[in-house]
Amino acid sequence: MFTLLRNFLITAGAGIVLFGLTYAVEPFRDYQLATVAAYLCATAGLTVLIGLNGQVSLGHGALMAVGAYTVALVQNAFADANHYAQWTIVVSLLLGIVAALVAGVVIGLAAARLRGPYLAGVTLAVAVVVPAFATVFSGTFKGDQGLSVAVPPPPEALGLDFPVERWQAWLALIAALLVMLLLANLAGSRYGRMFRAVRDNEVAARLAGIHVARTQVLAFVVSAACAGLAGGMFAILSQSVSPSAFSLTLSLYLLLAVVLGGLGSLAGAVWGAVALVLLPELLSSLTNAMDLSPAAAQRLEGNLPLAIFGLTLIVVMIGAPSGIQGAINRLTRRIRKPQESRLTKGGATT
């Protein structure tokens, strides 16, 4: 009960601060904030899967595609029926979550039959298949070109010169905060302990009466639903969906974000989501400053972030597997008094 209240207060506090922040920054930063929030929905879900449950998924980009395409189709159906109210967004996002959830059940059931690398392999196959789906069912999904998404404009009550980006930031932040609140409570609940028990020792977990396969499927389905919401959010933010936006690379980026932020802590997912938005921007300003020939610049442009991301993934995994949040935890523990740190150690490592 105490954790529930604490999580709720932290979420409310973060909400108020972020609400103020959307007014303090220019529209471009608001859009970036919205992107971070959308990524956060996915990385938080993936943290639960990888960090708490010890399973790896390479298909979260594809699950985001499921959410995004669902939202696109539902929004466009609403637009065809001349519904332009804000509630259409909520309905389509919920349907996007449900669609990703169903996909998650199918994939999770197939992969949970066996331990080990099978989930990674199956989800890799799912990630590779996305463009093929868009092409084969091009009547619905419009192939490589993708769909445009009809999104209602911000409510008129906010005033006519209210920036769209700020409205988008609000939508995405509400979604992200809800996801964080729900996942934080889940992680602290009986289910969170079951996830961790299965991750640490499957045999011991089974002896303690935990249904291992069912727990693994549940963790996968939860994170799939989060990915669906993230994908739907991206569809609304960019007002278009296309298969190239949800490639295997996106799944690997999400994995990087989770690992870099710190496996096993939801706060790490925040750092990861921020890094996903800021790193490419940083790198592109770096290549712009380097004064290269156009051909060389073109080759570097797409590939340099990939190389840096991959290298970061390897270095973090070998050198600091607990990521940014792990480093922060170590730092705060050192600053606190030694006695206190000894007392809180048990709780701080979870």
């Binding site: 690398p117 099978y118 990674a120 463009p131 084969v136 080759r299 991959g310 995994m317």
Partner: protein
């Protein structure tokens, strides 16, 4: 009927390549319990080395040898430098490092060669002979069969007849005991990765000319197909990997031939999920429970 014969032979030719690639996956999984998700990227990197050498020297065979050698070097280097530190940790860590390698290798290849498709030459004609008006095999298909067969026989002889092969098997199944008996287990792991990467390089060299061409992502779908083949064969069995590879090749060839090549990736996914749901232990091994 003519079409069926053609698709069968074409499927077997592709299946032979999947078998070689699945063998590479099985080799590493047997010795380290790791599915090497960077296998495809390493194979593509070797193929690029072969492409550069072949273009520079004008000889396909020099490029061929260079690609295999570079595979050996890449495999050994990667095991020694980045995989060794994470091998003892949680089973998830090597997987994540391998995925990081995929990003790095593909990005570096993209920076050096660009992301466009480059034609990889073939040593023999790809025009099929016709027997009684039915297109059957091309000289290149025969070369593919010969190369994959040589690889399999070579590996079988290595593991069953040589001391190095015996040591590798021993360190895969009982690392502690092998270490006590004086086997350098670490070196055996490096050797295993080197062999697997060379097998992967061979598969890439054989399959890329029959597909769109050389590209940093050229082996993504091949990897998924070969992983499916390895799962079909029960991921620890070399013989299963070969049969699984041929089976997957045939299924995909029929799907591509009778439907369209756009459907092929979906067919791979359905096949993989179906095998995992129906026979999770693979078709050719008795399921054993392995714990702790």
């Amino acid at each position: 009927m003519q079409r069926f014969i053609f698709l069968t032979l074409d499927g077997l030719s592709h299946g032979a390549v999947y078998a070689a690639f699945a063998l590479a996956i099985v080799l590493i999984h047997r010795s380290t319990r790791v599915v090497n998700f960077a296998q495809g990227a390493i194979a593509v990197a070797s193929a690029y080395v072969g492409y550069s050498v072949a273009a520079g020297s004008g000889s396909y065979w020099l490029g061929f040898i260079a690609a295999l050698l570079s595979g050996v070097i890449f495999g050994a280097l990667i095991e020694r430098v980045v995989m060794r530190p994470v091998e003892q940790g949680p089973p998830l860590n090597p997987v994540i490092v391998a995925l990081g390698l995929v990003l790095v290798i593909q990005a570096i290849l993209g920076m050096i060669y660009g992301n466009d498709f480059k034609p990889l030459p073939t040593p023999f004609s790809r025009t099929a002979w016709t027997i009684g008006g039915v297109a059957v095999l091309s000289p290149y298909d025969l070369f593919v069969f010969g190369a994959v067969l040589t690889l399999m026989v070579g590996l079988a002889l290595l593991f069953s007849r040589t001391k190095a092969g015996l040591r590798m098997r021993a360190s895969a199944f009982a690392p502690e005991v092998s270490r006590l008996l004086g086997v350098n287990v670490g070196r055996m792991l490096t050797l295993g990765w080197a062999l697997a990467a060379a097998a992967g390089a061979l598969a890439a060299l054989l399959v890329i000319p029959t597909e769109l061409g050389l590209n940093p992502n050229a082996m993504d779908l091949v990897f998924v197909s070969a992983f499916t083949a390895a799962v079909v064969g029960g991921i620890d069995s070399p013989a299963g990997a070969v049969i699984g590879g041929l089976g997957v090749g045939l299924v995909l060839s029929y799907v591509t031939g009778y439907s369209s090549s756009d459907v092929t990736p979906i067919a791979v996914l359905i096949l993989l999920v179906a095998v995992l749901l129906l026979r999770p232990g693979g078709l050719f091994t008795s399921t054993r429970i392995r714990q702790v």
